[in-house]
Every structure is written in C-alpha cells, then in structure tokens.
C-alpha cells in the first residue's frame, strides 16, 4: 500500500489532507512540523512526502533538504503544500530537492489528481 507522510502545523489542513488521501486508499502518517516529520521519516520509509512550507521548529524547505540527505529519501517524491506560488518559493523548494508543489487553497480532487504524477 502506498504510504504517504503528511507534514503540516495546522491540524485542520493536516486532517483534511490525510482524510482525502485515506479516502483514496492511501496510507498516511502525520507530523506537525519539520522536526517531527524528519524523525518519522527516519523511522520508516514513504512513497511520498507532502509538506507545508511555513512551520515552526523546522520549515518545509529545511525538511526537504534534510530528507534528501537520507539514503531512503534520495528519490522519494516530496511535494510542498503552499499558498506561495511565487517563483522565488518554487526555486527555493527546487534547490532543496522538492519534487513539486501543490498550491493552496487545498482542493481534494486536485490533490488526488496531482499526486498521481509522482506515485502509483
């Protein structure tokens, strides 16, 4: 079963993303900031990581570059969930090794359609 790590500091967003993914038959693990996400990633492997950018403790960009240092996550798709669609944001994400980004407002159908570009 496809296993997805969802990292977001907002409970409601995290719940929604997770709910959407689960209802589409994915398995999810949730983390509420970059640090938690990183330790979840170290403890297990995932088929996809979806992470918010603005978070306390460790932001999404830092999480992404940390994940890319882990052997298990060298090629794992990492999507940034962000409202910031500015080019700058995308560039920073890319530099940190992000696969792509999902632009908020969060839309369940779009999320499911989009992640098909990176997972089976």
């Amino acid at each position: 079963m496809t296993k997805i790590l969802v990292v977001d500091d907002s409970n409601s967003i995290r719940d929604m993303v997770s709910f959407t993914l689960k209802s589409a038959g994915y398995q999810t693990v949730e983390a509420k900031d970059g640090l938690q996400g990183l330790s979840a990633a170290k403890a297990s492997s995932f088929d996809l990581v979806i992470s918010d950018v603005n978070m306390p403790n460790m932001d999404g960009i830092a999480l992404c570059s940390e994940l890319r240092k882990l052997p298990n996550f060298k090629f794992t798709p990492i999507l940034m969930l962000t409202t910031e669609s500015s080019g700058d944001m995308k560039l920073r994400g890319k530099e940190a090794g992000a696969t792509g980004w999902l632009v908020k407002p969060f839309n369940p159908e779009k999320l499911l359609a989009t992640i098909k570009r990176v997972v089976r």
């Binding site: 967003i13 603005n54 890319r68």
Partner: protein, 700 residues
C-alpha cells in the same frame, strides 16, 4: 471523486480563533527585529488564509491576504515595524475575527469596519509591491474539437534526484487524451558507463486531446527548470504554430489581476446586497450555528488518566463479581474492601471527568491585554495589566459566560478607577496605573479578582448619587459594603459624563445578575486614593454542586453549600416576634427572618414549633434568611438535573438530583425562595390589613 470536507470546518474555525488570539497577543509584544514573533504572526495569518480558501470563505481569504502581504514585508525586513502598522494589524485581527464569525454563522459582518481597515491596509501597502497570487484558473482558449500536440521532452540527467519520474508524467498526459510516446535512446551510454541514478533518455510525445496547452504545461510545471520542453500544436482551425514560453506569472495573467481595494469593496457591496435580503433567516441560522460548533479540546494527559481509571474500575468490578460467585460470610471483609475501592474509583473517575470540562482561565484572560492597550489609547491614561493565576482551571460553560462581566469590570477599572498621569503624579503615585487580574481556587470555588491602584470608590459620591436617584433615603446610615452594593443597583452610574467605554449605567447590575445566574457572587473592596478590588466568586462547575441535605416532613431537599452562612439550633431567647406572622431571629448584629420550609411548600410535618428548631441561615442578594428544617442530613456532592428540561421551571427550586437510594431530591434556589417568601409575607400583610380594617369597623 468528490470528498466532503465540511466536517473539518469546526476544527478550522477553532484553530483560526486560536490563531487570531496568538496574532493579537504577539502583536502587543511585537518589537523591531523580533523575527520569531513576526514569523509566528505570519504563520497564523497564513494558515487562516489557506483554510479559508479551502472552505470557500472568500471574504476571509481576500482580507487575510492583505494582512499577510503586510506581514510578509515586515518579515523580510522590507518594512519597518511602526506603532501605526501594529495598530492597523490589531484592527485587522478584529476584522478577521468578524469575518470568520460571519462565515461561521453564515451571517453578516460590520462592512464599514472591514472596508475601512482594508483601505488602511492597502494604503499602507501602497508604494510597496502588492503581490497578487496568480490565479489557478488558466486563461481560457476557445477550443473546437481536438488538437494534436507535439511535445518534445528532454530532461536533464539529474531529473530523478528531485523525486520526479517521467513515467508518471506520461501517465498523467495519457489521461488527457490519446498519447503516443517515442523514446530517444541516442544518449544512452554503454552499460559500463551507466550511472543508475541518472537519466539518459529523451522523448517525443504526440498527444491528441481537447485540452488546452495550459493543462499540458501544468503537468510539466514541476520539472520545467530541469528539462527542455517544447510544445507545438496542430489544429485544423488555427494553423499557426507558436512555441510558447510559459513564464507563469507575467503577462497573460496580468489582465485578471485585481486591485485589492476595489475587489474587497466590490465584494462587500455584493454581500451587502445579499445580506439585506432576509435578515431573519440569517439570525436564526446564527444561533443554530453557534450551538453546533461547540467542542472541547482536551489534553492527552486528561484522557490518559481517564482511561487509566476506567481500567481500575474494570479490575474492581471483576474482583467484586468473582466475590459474588460463591459468597459466604467469611468474605465480608473482602467485600467491604472491594466496595471501598469502588467508592475510590468512582470518586476519582468523577473528578477526572469534571477535569475534562475544565480549562485554564487564561482563555478568558487572554483578551484583556488588548483591551487595556486600546483603553489606554482611548482614555489617554497610562496603564498596564498584570495577570496572575492564568493556569487556574474553570468549567468551560462558566468561563464562556463570565467573559463579558469581566470585560465590564476591567473597563470600569480603566475608565473610572485609574486616574490620568498628572493626577497620579500629583498624588504621589507612579504615572502608570496598574490593573491586576488574578484567579485562584478557594474551597470548591474559584475567585477572580479585578483590582486597580486608582482613585478608589468615593463613598460620598456614591451615597449622594443613590439619594439623588431615589435608591435610598438621605438619612440612612450605611456601612461601606452597603454603599458599594449600591453600584450594582439598576440605573446607577457615577460617571459625571457618559463615555463610550463605560458608564451607561446599564452595566453593573447586569454584571451582578450574570454572576448570580452562574451561582456566584461579587464583592467590592475599596480604599479611597489607593484603589478598588472586585472579587467574583464562582462555582467551579455548573454540573455538580456541593449540597447540604435537609429533611422536611418526608421530603429531602438540598441547599447549595455556597449560600449557607451557618446552621444552628434556635435559642428561644433570641426569637423576636414582631407580629404574628413575621418571626425574626437575632443572629449577633442581624435580625434574620425565619422561613419555615414546610409553610412555603405546603408540606405535612411534625416539626412546626419554632422553639428549639433547626435553622439553616442562608444568604442571597445581601439578604440573610433562616430556613427552618426538621433535620440536617449529610453533606454531599450532587449532580444537577435540570427541571426545565425534564419538567418545567418551578419557583424556589433550581433543579433536582437523584440520591444514593434512588429517590429524587429538589435543590433549593435560595434567591428564588427569598423573593417567594417576601411575596407571601406581603400577601399575608395585605390580607391581614384588610381583615383588621373590617374588624375595626365592627368594633367601633
């Protein structure tokens, strides 16, 4: 596939209100260069914007976007943080709260205020770059029939290192139409030279589809910097081939970007129209919405202890049931121990469950720093707020209802209590006044203190005002506390002129009534020139009551322990029969009317003699009365069941409970009983006067 997310709205709302509180308190402490604080404010706004967009709360999204833009500039150091900006942001927080509340209740909001603030925000932002998010909606190209797209996709060798895999991109493309793929293997090195982590292939794709180019570009949007992508289209209608440069942000979207001000205004006038349509429906929806939203966030530790206790209860239960399987008298001691344990378990479980409803009072206190900040500006006085005992816990319902009375008391302290800096300095005080909020537990109650180091209550002014208003006679002598109680009389206001902060004269009596309806009381202390202190005593919870069980005839009644002053056996020498019906009892300096409960409720009892009877002295509304009872039984905690919900409201009774033996006992409503007794006494007096005058007629 459609996913319904409406179930997440309550948690979004809760989170947003928390976010707003955080924004507010952080803004009050915001200083230049405090990156962490400004970041956390930004994050809060950002989350609210994101969530609001998801649920379609467009007013919230639009407004918050402006706020976020301003915060972003501050965060990046592009803008200095001035007090004016902080003011605007605080105002914006208010507006966001209004907007979110309106969205929650599906109701209207104060358009004037939101419009003003959004104008101020835009003015502040003007001159600096206003970032508008490119819309997700791509520019529509009218399409007739299908088109053939030729896509040349040459990825960089390192493409896979960002987690992108071309196969998924092709799968996504295939969903758009008919796709043919041709791989170019020319660059593939010999097997020995292959690095398994690199990508050597490139592809020529042909897609026959009705979608427009933007959708194809979107599929490649994550890899556009890491590949060479060329899309050309053939179309029977449009034969021109234009190699498009897809730089997302710039030209094509410019036309649909909207100036924030005008968009907000347009929206507001739009919703104004909608709102005026049927206000009644909206008002109805409002109250309904509020009731549904209620939820409690409970700490994991509380839930854990609950589960732990239930575990223990199960163990006790299984022990007892095993004991019952073959019980004989040798096991009585074991049984007693078991029952003891059960009692302990139940008690702990009850306490644990009650703790779930308890929240730290900081929830109610958190709005005051902002209030004081605003009041200081409005009144031009210097003042600061000191908060203590924020962690003191209180029932959620009590907390919700005590908020407004507390605001009133704090406003009063700021407006009437604290003097201007000049006056303070002239009186040898520091220029800055202090208002303190404190909360602590005191024997099953919570006490909230609102104190200030201001001018104190001027006894003379209060007294004269009360005489002027006809509340008291000019020649009575009153104790200090009696004078202070006058403040809570309806229609009383000492402020020489009414300000918009306080002093409309409708406040304090409402404050007192609200506190009383929660089963609490308020007490005033004041020293002229030194300051005043208002103490609000409240029960910790509305669901459970500490009660004294009393017996009258065959009935058992419960008197709330909080209202009992003392219980005593009547000393015949101290009885004072003023007239035949009114019996007073001399209790030290007070004369307390004796009210036999059997008379009030028309009960049969053997104990009708006042001499040597048992008297429970209770107090409400500053009035003491002695309730005559047959016997005093146990003191215990009782669970309050509402009479109104199960039967109907009864005067003199505040509720019912079920006792250990399964019988139902009524809980006495002391203020209600006192007014009932007074009415009865008046009635008796009237009847008697009538009788006496007719008698007199006969005699003469």
């Amino acid at each position: 596939m459609s996913v319904d997310l409406s179930q997440f709205i309550p948690s979004f709302l809760e989170e947003s209100f928390e976010g707003l509180e955080l924004m507010e308190s952080s803004l009050l402490n915001l200083e230049q260069g405090d990156d962490e604080t400004i970041n956390s404010i930004f994050r809060a706004a950002h989350s609210i914007k994101g969530g609001a967009g998801t649920f379609g709360f467009e007013d919230v999204t639009k407004f918050t976007h402006l706020v976020e833009t301003l915060l972003d500039e501050m965060r990046d150091g592009r803008r200095d943080i001035t007090p004016t900006d902080t003011e605007i942001l605080l105002e914006s927080v208010d507006c966001m709260r209004l907007l979110i509340e309106a969205a929650r209740d599906n109701a209207e909001f104060d358009q004037e205020k939101v419009m003003q603030t959004s104008r101020r925000l835009t003015e502040t932002l003007a001159g600096t770059l206003i970032k508008e998010e490119p819309s997700d909606i791509a520019v529509q190209v009218p399409n007739e029939g299908e088109m053939t797209y030729h896509i040349s996709f040459i990825p960089e060798h390192s493409l896979a290192k960002t987690g992108n895999d071309p196969i998924f991109l092709f799968n996504a493309l295939a969903e758009l139409g008919k796709l043919t793929i041709k791989a170019n293997t020319q660059k593939l090195p010999s097997l020995n030279d292959i690095d398994a982590q690199e990508l050597y292939l490139s592809w020529q794709l042909t897609l026959i589809s009705a979608v427009d180019e933007a959708e194809i570009i979107e599929i490649f949007e994550w890899v556009e910097d890491e590949c060479e992508l060329k899309i050309t289209q053939e179309n029977t209608d449009i034969t021109e081939e234009e190699p498009k440069n897809h730089d997302n942000a710039e030209e094509p979207l410019e036309s649909i970007e909207v100036e924030p001000v005008s968009s907000t205004q347009a929206d507001i006038s739009q919703s104004q129209k909608n709102n005026s349509n049927n206000e009644v429906d909206k008002a109805a929806g409002k109250s309904k919405g509020k009731a549904e939203v209620g939820s409690i966030r409970v700490g994991v530790d509380k839930v854990d202890s609950l589960i732990n206790l239930v575990g223990e209860l199960v163990i006790t239960q299984s022990m007892l049931s095993e004991l019952g399987n073959d019980f004989d008298m040798t096991k009585v001691e074991k049984l007693t121990n078991g029952l003891e344990q059960l009692l302990q378990n139940t008690k702990e479980l009850q306490e644990s469950v009650m703790r779930i409803r308890m929240l730290p009072i900081s929830f109610a206190f958190s709005r005051f720093p902002r209030l004081i900040h605003d009041l200081a500006i409005k009144t031009g006085k210097e003042m600061e707020l000191v908060i203590k005992g924020e962690q003191t816990e209180l029932d959620k319902t009590v907390m919700e209802q005590i908020g407004d009375p507390l605001v009133h008391l704090v406003r009063n302290a700021a407006d009437h209590g604290i003097e201007t800096s000049e006056v303070r300095l002239a009186n040898g005080k520091s220029a800055k006044g202090t208002i303190s909020l404190d909360a602590y537990h005191q024997g099953g109650n919570i006490v909230i203190e609102i104190s200030d180091d201001g001018a104190g209550i001027n006894r003379e002014v209060v007294f004269n005002k009360a005489v002027e208003k006809g509340l008291i006679e000019a020649n009575v002598t009153l104790t200090d506390s009696q004078v202070y109680d006058l403040l809570f009389e309806p229609g009383f206001s000492t402020a020489a002129e009414v300000t918009d902060i306080s002093g409309r004269g409708v406040g304090m009596d409402v404050v007192k009534r609200n506190i009383q309806s929660l089963g609490g009381r308020i007490q005033v202390d004041s020293t002229q020139g030194k300051g005043s202190c208002f103490k609000v005593h409240l029960p910790l919870t509305l669901a459970i009551l500490d009660g004294q069980l009393v017996k009258v005839g065959t009935e058992t009644y419960i008197i709330p322990l909080i209202s009992i002053v003392e219980s005593l056996q009547i000393d015949n020498k101290l009885i004072n029969r003023v007239s035949g019906d009114m019996v007073l009892y001399r209790l030290r300096d007070d004369n307390v009317p004796i009210l036999p409960i059997y008379q009030l409720f028309n009960l049969e009892t053997e104990c009708t003699e006042i001499d040597n009877a048992l008297l429970v002295v209770v107090e409400a509304d500053g009035q003491k009365i002695g309730l005559m009872v047959d016997d005093l039984l146990a003191q215990q905690q009782v669970v309050i069941k509402s009479l109104k919900d199960n039967y109907q409201q009864v005067t003199g009774i505040s509720g019912a409970t079920i006792l250990g033996d399964g019988s139902v006992a009524m809980i006495l409503d002391i203020p209600g009983m006192i007014s009932m007794a007074l009415k009865q006494a008046q009635q008796v007096q009237l009847d008697k006067n009538g009788r006496e005058s007719s008698k007199r007629g006969e005699l003469v």
